[in-house]
């Protein structure tokens, strides 16, 4: 199954036979005190740096989230979407828990966006899915209900099935425009959680057949050497069936692990992308050496 996202001028395809879709996570004020302060006075200058670094790092899409305390998220998300689209042509993931902010972001967006996200909660479904339909967007679906995030992978599959059923049957959203998030939980909280996520990915991608995504950095929360854990987790999740992730696109160790896994998974024909990346790195090193000598 292919999920196609578009900006005004470019597109990206998510699918099991495609290179893994790297969605940059950085444009998000969570845990960034200075950025939060800037957003309070509607200063979006940090976003320009975030866009440049993530695109340089290998992001194929960018997540845009403006959720911070004491800010006008509705206005900011619209402004941020316009700003990011003026800086890059990769498609965007419009991320908010505030429905009005999602709408403002979608209204500002040119192309077909990915909406982050809807859960298996009636109230959320009734507010968000009509928006997704109206703007012809795709949507990330989370298999958690009013109660909690179920630990049992089969329960996650069941909730995902229900949610996909509602989105397609009641709201007429094409199944390929639903990307299920099997939910990545911090390995530090319980060392058996990652394997449950792997199983949920496998069940959801084989039994429903939809594309999948998750917030990959969550896995390493609270642990030392997070980069290595993220770099290990992603290729394992890819083998389980994961086709995209909202992730750290600025750390070469992590992006390189994903690119290596693309090749191993048979999604980098004759290793052309891998070899080209190697040459680009070589050229950059040589240029830096030449500059240092001059």
């Amino acid at each position: 199954m292919h999920t196609v996202l578009r900006s005004a001028t470019a597109s990206v395809t998510i699918g099991p036979d495609q290179p893994f879709c790297i969605i940059g996570e950085r444009i998000n004020p969570t845990g960034r005190k200075k950025f939060q302060e800037q957003l309070r006075v509607e200063d979006l200058s940090a976003v320009e740096v975030d866009v440049a670094q993530q695109i340089a790092g290998g992001a194929m899409m960018l997540d845009v989230n403006m959720g911070a305390p004491l800010v006008d998220e509705v206005k900011l998300l619209g402004d941020a979407v316009r700003l990011v689209q003026s800086l890059t042509d990769v498609p965007l993931c419009i991320d908010s828990s505030v429905v009005e902010a999602l709408e403002s972001g979608l209204a500002a967006y040119e192309g077909k966006a990915l909406v982050n996200s809807v859960t298996m909660e009636r109230e959320r479904i009734e507010l968000i899915l009509p928006l997704v339909k109206r703007y012809g967007a795709a949507v990330i679906a989370l298999p958690n209900d009013e109660e909690a995030i179920p630990e049992d992978p089969h329960r996650r599959l069941e909730l995902a099935k229900q949610l996909v059923g509602i989105a397609t049957d009641e709201y007429g959203i094409p199944i390929e425009d639903i990307v299920v998030d099997p939910l990545a939980m911090p390995i530090g909280a319980d060392h058996t959680l990652a394997m449950k996520t792997m199983e949920a990915i496998h069940l959801i991608s084989t039994e429903i057949g939809v594309n999948t995504t998750l917030g990959a950095s969550n896995v390493s929360f609270g642990m030392p050497d997070r980069h290595t854990l993220n770099a290990v987790f992603l290729p394992m999740a890819m083998k389980a069936g994961l086709t995209s992730a909202i992730m750290d696109a600025r750390t070469p160790q992590i992006v390189t692990a994903v690119k290596g896994a693309d090749l191993m998974m048979g999604n980098d024909e004759w290793g052309a992308t891998w070899i080209a990346a190697h040459r680009a790195k070589q050229a950059a090193t040589q240029a830096a050496e030449a500059a240092a000598q001059a």
């Binding site: 845990g31 959720g67 305390p69 908010s96 909690a148 911090p186 530090g188 909280a189 929360f221 609270g222």
Partner: protein
Amino acid sequence: MTPDEILKGLYDETMVGNKPAVLELTQEGIDSGLPPERMLFEALIPSLEEVGARFERGDWFVPEMLIAGKAMAGALDLLRPLLAQGGVESVGTFLMGTVKGDVHDIGKNLVNIMLEGAGFTVIDLGVQVPPEKFVAAIEEHQPDIVGMSAFLTTTMPMFKANINAIEKAGLRDKVVIMVGGAPVTQEYADVCGADGYAADAATAVRKAKDFVAAKRAG
């Protein structure tokens, strides 16, 4: 084992999260007549506070904090009936929950353990707690303090929604409201109308005690 050896053992084994050893030592303390309050206040709580301090400095990590918390919770299960029997009254009732839309509970659970250790009766509503559930639980349990946890900037606005609901139900002056969670600041706590905020579990317990003392005095 001398009482001091038991206390030292409890302190050391709690810190490394060795629950079987902590249970054994607690039982040995009970059997040898070591006062449960001493085990609590001279070993278990200081140990968990040290774990919290190390975590705060970035020297220790989440799993280490969790297993230490679990070890202490195990000891508390053994000590609780004795503490009650010994006439150690509950310091107060603390109603706790992670706000609606938020499923993060590591920090909340740790605060719960610390509160229990400090003598509070803790009623944990779990995660994804909607305003009406907070209201119903306040009516049912009549707590001294209501604690709300949020880990996401996107779920922090639920503090205000909960406080509004509590106000609407006419219960606002019956309870002290404390908020916390990674993205929460004192400034935000003030803006949303909470009575208290703490950056870490140990501070939360200290403030909770102060609130109850002030409430009882007033």
